[in-house]
Subunit: 150 residues, 3 copies
């Protein structure tokens, strides 16, 4: 099944590749693996600032995670030109800007995992999620991804 | 040498694959690499809650790290059916729930590295260890792993 | 172009492989990928202690990141004997010891990315940078790296 048909059915529109805010590339391809740089959450063209457990609740964090997943797909498309060349998402690492009291990082990261589910066949991805002290630009979440080429 | 003979000699019993607490898979295989999701420490069937530097000392953290390594091996076995198919552990990333004053993350992570030493020949693994703000379910440590198939 | 000519022109001298402070290896090679362990910042033979946002400013953090990149190259050389065997740096992960108020982790990490730029052709690396609660030995920054063999 064509991944673009699925995206269209879900009314998901992909942006272009994220332009890094510093001296690195948005992605690097090595063999069959595509390594995507950490993408920070953005809203209305600016950093999506917030901290889970203090200024932001789990459901907003999930929406931010979902938006990062869309941005990652936009970068992935720029990397491989045609997303149908992707065999699977291999791994997500979700870094959640969170207070010491917040323990639902896995639920926040689900916002990204739900968006990716079913796009590249039925096989899911490995994942880690945890709380970090802070994220560039004060963003509420940063996600990096490894994908596999067919 | 058969890895199961070594495990038996060390009286280590492997659990089944860790069931993820959210929308992801316990592992993903890509080419020769097996990517294992972040496994959080568990004790008596529940999260092994604690923070190094406040509620938990280094030696308890090492025991928690050891238990996560056993859980990772259980998941790895589920991924490849026979652990003798594993050529080596390539990389561990140990995320330690720690206070700003705690600086022995590398010693805590040794609890996992010791458990893995010698299981897959003499070659060791690369590793990173550092302190994070918090971990899903409040667990004291989370470890992710990359292994290589023969 | 020979990478050693570039290093000499920049007056960069590489150390030997970093000796791990715990039970792991400085690197692991799997297929075409070289995984380097997290290297913590060192100065005058000791941990380069500090926290961005409290005891250390961005420019000092950049110098520390640069020194870690040199240490990583030293380890990489020990891993592959001749750095001309390296096709590219694939990925950097920069863990910055930072206060909750510090949001310039990406600028700190540039200290490493600038040092690596142009060493292995024109293609850059993917990267993630974020703030962590603490780092082994109290170091101000820890960086891990994935490189690709020709």
């Amino acid at each position: 099944m064509n991944v673009y048909d699925i995206l269209a059915a879900r009314q998901i529109h992909l942006p272009g590749a994220r332009q890094p805010s510093a001296l690195y590339e948005p992605f690097a391809i090595s063999g069959q693996l595509v390594f995507l740089s950490g993408h920070t959450a953005r809203q209305d063209g600016r950093a999506w600032v917030g901290q889970l457990g203090t200024t932001m609740a789990t459901d907003e964090g999930q929406r931010a995670a979902r938006s990062v997943a869309i941005d990652l797909l936009g970068t992935l498309q720029a990397a491989v030109v045609d997303l149908n060349r992707i065999a699977r998402i291999v791994k997500l690492t979700a870094l959640v800007n969170s207070s010491p009291a917040f323990t639902e990082h896995h639920l926040v990261a689900n916002g990204a995992s739900e968006l990716l589910a079913g796009l590249f066949g039925t096989v899911g991805h490995a994942r880690s999620a945890f709380g970090v002290a802070q994220i560039p630009h004060g963003a509420c979440i940063e996600i990096e991804m490894v994908a596999e080429l067919r």
